[in-house]
């Protein structure tokens, strides 16, 4: 049986005047996977997600969600989706439970409120007004409002932006728990660690287009190197020539020095040190190559610039 993808869009375009927020974007998300749209602010992630959620109309392109189309099947589709927008200010003076009960009432079927409260870890806050919750708790409540319908497909638009590390990890657990029930998630983020932790596949989006697509591991492997070495010398340096050192795959200018992608650290480091030390080496650090490095490699810019 050929399975329908949970989400598909082809040549999606959204223009605001002359500006193309989304500029010919293709996506296909399979059932049961957690798919991430990773990109800097203004890359067109939110516009794309809102079109997929049926909250915004594309200028051109085709969208299919769970095998259905927004213009024909809106009512049926809404019953099967869970949505958490980038920013929603839930009523300040409703309690956690009252908010959930209201959202639950819109759906023909769903999960018991107690279960969802347990799931997002807000059981002991059920009688608190929304305005008394912390940022992380508010965000988990927003996700809970999307989970009360027990959706097949969950949209999360930058679910952890602005949260502290502990709140982020709590939210990740909620998403992983949802995925473990065989459900599909589409999330946007500009945190590479979030994409690496949660997503089966990632599309890197820049200027309204997908510029790279694959599992986080594949994308990092595409650099042809596992490690990144960054260093600073007293005299400013050009990246030319550094790429030729043993096991070094590429060289570029970084914030205040040079960044090299390196296949084998133990082979490359002695050569790098031998050449950098006479120039007055003031700082050297290494880290595992990440999606951030993939993005920088593809665009020459950082994700959070």
């Amino acid at each position: 049986m050929p399975s329908t993808p949970a989400l598909r869009c082809e040549q999606l375009v959204k223009k605001y005047g002359d500006l193309a927020a989304v500029d010919g974007l293709d996506l296909e998300v399979d059932g049961g996977e957690c798919f991430g749209l990773l990109g800097p602010n203004g890359a067109g992630k939110t516009t794309t997600v809102e079109i997929l959620e049926g909250l915004n109309e594309p200028t051109a392109g085709r969208v299919e969600v769970l095998g259905m189309r927004w213009d024909r099947d809106e009512r049926a589709l809404r019953q099967r989706l869970g949505v958490s927008l980038q920013e929603t200010h839930l009523p300040d003076k409703l309690t956690v439970e009252e908010n959930l009960r209201m959202f639950r009432s819109f759906y023909l079927q769903g999960r018991p409120i107690e279960e969802v409260l347990e799931l997002v870890g807000l059981s002991d806050k059920r009688a608190s007004w929304t305005e008394r919750l912390s940022g992380g708790q508010k965000q988990r409540l927003a996700v809970a409002c999307a989970l009360v319908s027990d959706p097949e497909l969950l949209f999360l638009d930058e679910p952890t932006t602005g949260l502290d590390p502990q709140s982020r990890r709590q939210l990740w657990d909620v998403v992983l728990g949802f995925k473990s029930r065989g459900r599909t998630v589409l999330l946007t983020t500009h945190y590479m660690d979030e994409a690496e932790r949660l997503c089966d596949r990632v599309a890197i989006v820049d200027k309204g287009k997908v510029i790279a697509l694959g599992t986080p591991r594949e994308l990092i492997a595409s650099l042809g190197a596992q490690q990144v070495v960054e260093f600073v010398t007293e005299r400013p340096l050009a990246p030319d020539g550094w790429g030729g050192l043993p096991s070094v795959r590429s060289a570029r200018r970084s914030a205040d020095g040079i960044a090299l992608t390196v296949e084998q650290l133990h082979v490359a480091l002695p050569a790098i040190l031998a050449r950098a030390e006479p120039l007055g080496l003031t700082h050297l650090s290494t880290h595992q190559a990440s999606l951030e490095d993939v993005f920088v490699h593809l665009t020459g810019r950082h994700l959070r610039e």
Binding site: E53, G54, L55, N56, R75, R78, Q79, L81, V83, L85, E87, T88, H89, L90, P91, K93, L94, E98, R101, M102, F103, R104, S105, F106, Y107, L108, Q109, G110, R111, P112, E115, W129, C145, S149, D150
Partner: protein, 345 residues
């Protein structure tokens, strides 16, 4: 038949009821909103009821410049003459301490401001006291019956004003606030029926009416003895159609506004003219004839006229058919236009 899994357990909750409940909770948890809806009209009725209470006619202060004049005027208990020098007398008139100055003649001169009713009254009383013409062939019947006092006029006006501002602020402002907080957008991302969402506001206003009316009318009855001459059911009916008309206008001003400043401006633009010109505090008859046709088609004028006709004159449905029709048309037209223009995102 058993539900196969706990996950499919479906609770039979009505979205319209949940939405209405949310509106009611949010209202009662906002002390400011409760005060403006329930407390403010009561305070206003007390303040105006005291300021314009019916009191025994007080003697009119008059300045005179001779003891002879003072004696003549003292004969009339409605006058309270004060003996002053001419310049002090003029000063007292200018500063409003007296309503009339009588200068000794001949001929006797009256200094007064003909634009002021008190001044004209003082002149007439003084003139009558100085030139007695014997008892006239008339008798006086002072009217102090409930139903003809200022407070009897004021209370229906306050009820109308309250229905207007509760509809405009309670719907217009709240809807725009939900839009700026992206809550509207979040709600339309669910299968929530948009019609039910709008209905929840109408149901809320109708339920509120059942609280607002008894509070204000009960208070007016207890404190001022204001009576409802006509049918209470009809009064409720007129209030309801009035509340709906302003619910519609509230939705219409909120239909497209993207921030609360815009909608605040729009609400004031709609409400202020009616506040002044629709006969809340004083009769619309005070305005020139030329503008009367415009005042009559204002929804608040129709509502106030309808409420007064039922409360004071005991009018039946036929007596206020015009006002009911106007409010009905306003309701239908504003709801229709609001739904056409409404911006959900």
């Amino acid at each position: 038949m058993n539900a196969p899994t706990a996950g499919l357990k479906s609770a039979p909750i009505s979205p319209l009821w949940e939405l209405t409940l949310a509106r009611l909770r949010l209202f009662f948890r906002e002390p400011g909103a409760v005060f403006w809806t329930f407390g403010f009209p009561l305070l206003l009725s007390v303040a105006l009821g005291i300021a314009f209470r019916n009191r025994p006619a007080e003697p009119v202060p008059v300045a005179v410049v001779s003891a002879e004049l003072e004696r003549s005027l003292e004969a009339d208990p409605q006058l309270r003459p004060r003996l002053l020098g001419e310049s002090e007398a003029r000063e007292a008139l200018r500063t409003g301490k007296v309503d009339l100055v009588v200068l000794a003649g001949p001929p006797i001169a009256y200094l007064y401001d003909p634009a002021r009713a008190e001044s004209r009254l003082a002149r007439a009383l003084a003139d009558a006291a100085l030139h007695p013409r014997g008892a006239p062939a008339t008798i006086d019947r002072p009217i102090t019956e409930p139903g003809s006092r200022y407070i009897d006029f004021l209370i229906p006006g306050l009820l109308g004003m309250n229905l207007m501002s509760a509809g405009m602020w309670g719907i217009g402002y709240i809807v725009v606030e939900m839009r700026t907080k992206k809550l509207l957008k979040r709600l339309v991302a669910t299968p929530m029926s948009r019609a039910q969402f709008l209905w929840s506001f109408v149901v809320m206003r109708a339920l509120f009416l059942l609280l607002e009316m008894p509070v204000l009318l009960g208070f007016a009855r207890l404190v001022f003895g204001v009576r409802i001459v006509g049918s209470i059911a009809l009064l409720l009916g007129v209030s309801l159609i009035g509340a709906l008309a302003f619910a519609g206008i509230g939705l219409l001003v909120a239909a497209r506004a993207q921030n609360t400043q815009t909608v605040t401006g729009l609400i004031n633009l709609v409400m202020l003219p009616m506040f002044v010109a629709s006969g809340v505090f004083f009769s619309t008859a005070r305005f020139p004839d030329a503008v009367q046709p415009f005042l009559r088609v204002l929804p608040l004028t129709a509502l106030n006229d309808g409420l007064r006709a039922v409360m004071i004159d005991g009018a039946g449905v036929t007596g206020i058919a015009g006002q009911i029709a106007l409010l009905g048309v306003t309701t239908a037209a504003t709801f229709f236009a609001a739904l056409r223009l409404f911006r959900w995102r």
